[in-house]
């Protein structure tokens, strides 16, 4: 039996088709990632799986239970970290966690022990008696993650769980989750926009406009881009694009103001390319493909164009230079 089985799920909001016939399985103990731009239908799919929304059509089961007919059993099997906040700001951290433990029927001895363990892990233990309204955004996020894990779920849904957290905290959380997964054979369905986090996934479904456009391991997805990614800044972008297409038979795309394309082996390609490319080049860099490139190749758009700004570019160039 798989942890999640989803078969031809469609969800319409009036005219809008938010999820358009998605099918996949998540195995027991697997970390499965959803990758896609804003509005792709990731959260809607999770809401259907966690019984908050009814599918327009299609079938889905979680932990072997049907998400429409056996809601209670599904609810008992799952833990959730929602994309949007769901804490009671007027209660303290401790009270929020207790509420959760009571609602899921966690036995008393387990409850207090695990609460302290999780609060310590999230570095919130000294603030456990403060109202959540006095917490910073990152602290609230950590508390939500702690709460989602409190009742030992068998299947965990993480909708951008580490949004807004600093890299160190993200590491902590992921270390803990991967340990849990080994200890308790936890299955995880997650979405994230952090590419490094997507690497924790065993498999990734790339989703766009409510459809899965690719589904594979991160490594194979990146290999599908084909070799290395070359990005260059040209004096004349139009001219460079034409030359790349016509003289080099490449399929370049424009990403964050850079022209980029992939080649099987950059070490062989570059010397020859630099000799014969006639358009002026201001800068050029080479890197291994990322999941961003996978997405770009599949859809012709970047996952979050607005956010992959100057800083991201700089980081990539540095990465390329270091190799």
């Amino acid at each position: 039996m798989n942890a999640i089985e989803i078969n031809g799920i469609v969800k319409k909001f009036g005219q809008l088709v938010a999820v358009d016939g998605i099918s996949f399985n998540v195995e027991k103990g697997e970390i499965f990632g959803f990758l896609g731009p804003n509005g792709a239908g990731k959260t809607t799919t999770i809401n259907i799986l966690c019984t908050l929304l009814l599918p327009t059509s299609g079938k889905a089961s979680v932990n072997g239970f049907d998400v429409v007919r056996e809601r209670r059993q599904v609810q008992r099997s799952i833990g959730l970290v929602f994309q949007d906040p769901t804490l009671d700001d007027y209660l303290t951290a401790e009270q929020n966690l207790r509420f959760h433990a009571y609602a899921y029927g966690v036995p008393r001895d387990v409850r207090e022990k695990r609460m302290t363990e999780l609060l310590e892990l999230m570095e919130l233990n000294d603030r456990r008696r403060s109202r959540v309204s006095t917490y910073s955004g990152g602290m609230k996020r950590r508390l939500e993650v702690a709460r989602g894990l409190l009742h030992h779920p068998q299947v965990l849904f993480l909708d951008e769980p580490t949004l807004g957290l600093d890299p160190q905290t993200r590491r902590h959380i992921w270390d803990y989750i991967t340990t849990l997964r080994k200890q308790e054979n936890l299955s995880i369905l997650m979405t994230t926009h952090y590419m490094d986090e997507a690497e924790y996934c065993d498999r990734i479904a790339v989703i766009d406009h409510g459809k899965i456009v690719a589904l594979d391991t991160p490594t194979r997805l990146k290999d599908s881009v084909g070799g290395d990614v070359v990005s260059l800044q040209a004096d004349n972008q139009e001219q460079a694009l034409i030359e790349l297409k016509e003289s080099f038979k490449l399929s370049p795309v424009v990403q964050n103001g850079m022209v980029s394309f992939s080649v099987p082996r950059s070490d062989v390609f570059l010397p020859e390319f630099l000799r014969s490319f006639r358009s002026g080049i201001r800068s050029i860099s080479v890197r291994r493909p990322t999941l961003d490139d996978v997405f770009l190749k599949l859809t012709g758009r970047a996952i979050r164009e607005q956010e992959a700004g100057a800083w991201e570019q700089m980081r990539r160039m540095m990465g390329a230079m270091n190799r």
Partner: protein, 289 residues
Amino acid sequence: MGTDEKNDGGDEPMKIAEQWRGIWVIAYRDLLRFTGDRIRLVSALAMPIIFLVIFGAGFNNVIGQLAPGIDFMKFVYPGIIAMTVLNSSLMSGLSIVWDREFGFLREVLVAPLSRGSVVAGKIVGSAVISLAQGIIMLVIAPIVDVRLTAMLVLKLVPVLLIISISISALGILIASRMRSQQGFQLVMMVLLMPMTFLSGVMFPVNNVPVWMEVISKVNPLTYGVDAVRQLFLAVQPLPAGIPAGIPMPSAIGVTVFGRTMGVLDDTLVVAGLGILLLIMAVVTFSRQE
């Protein structure tokens, strides 16, 4: 689009235990919030007291006695207690709308609790809070020269609880359809303000224009107010010369089809309506996504 209540759970053992757990955890959280929220407590009590002081003192001399031994203050005070309970009970609805807006409702809805037990928990929490507020209001009884007896308080508890349960169910029913606080506040204004004022809190609903009388008599709040008032007036000292034990003057009481309603009649009306509203609230709340 909706889920039937019978599909809400599925077949499973330990269903009863889980229902109780749902009721208790939802009520627990509402009580936690209430005790942690001084501002709400103070404002919930300040409003009726201000009402009482201003209207009571203002009208007491102008209006004089409504019946032998019953001045305006004695008339309006029980009404204000009922009103305190009404207002506080409606908060249960507001809290659902609030939770939906701030996301906490999702934490509740994905938990393995039936929708019915969530509604019941909201109502239990609301009834306890409302009763507490009604009882606290009794503290000012000596100040406004209203006599209290132990028996009165004892009888008041079940009556106030029944009023509170019915009104909480109404609040939740409205909230199940509301997506925003503004919407809920609007319904409160349009529906509930007139309902409160035409329930006999401020004036007897007998010698009023016919349209007003009709609205009052189909208004469930009227019977709640009347029940509380009758309990109070029954123990107020009567002036010398008037024999004790006569029924409440019909000028003050509520008459339906020629029958003057007693405390039990009133309470049964409110309870019957409460059951209806409760069923509707559970069904509506279970149907929403």
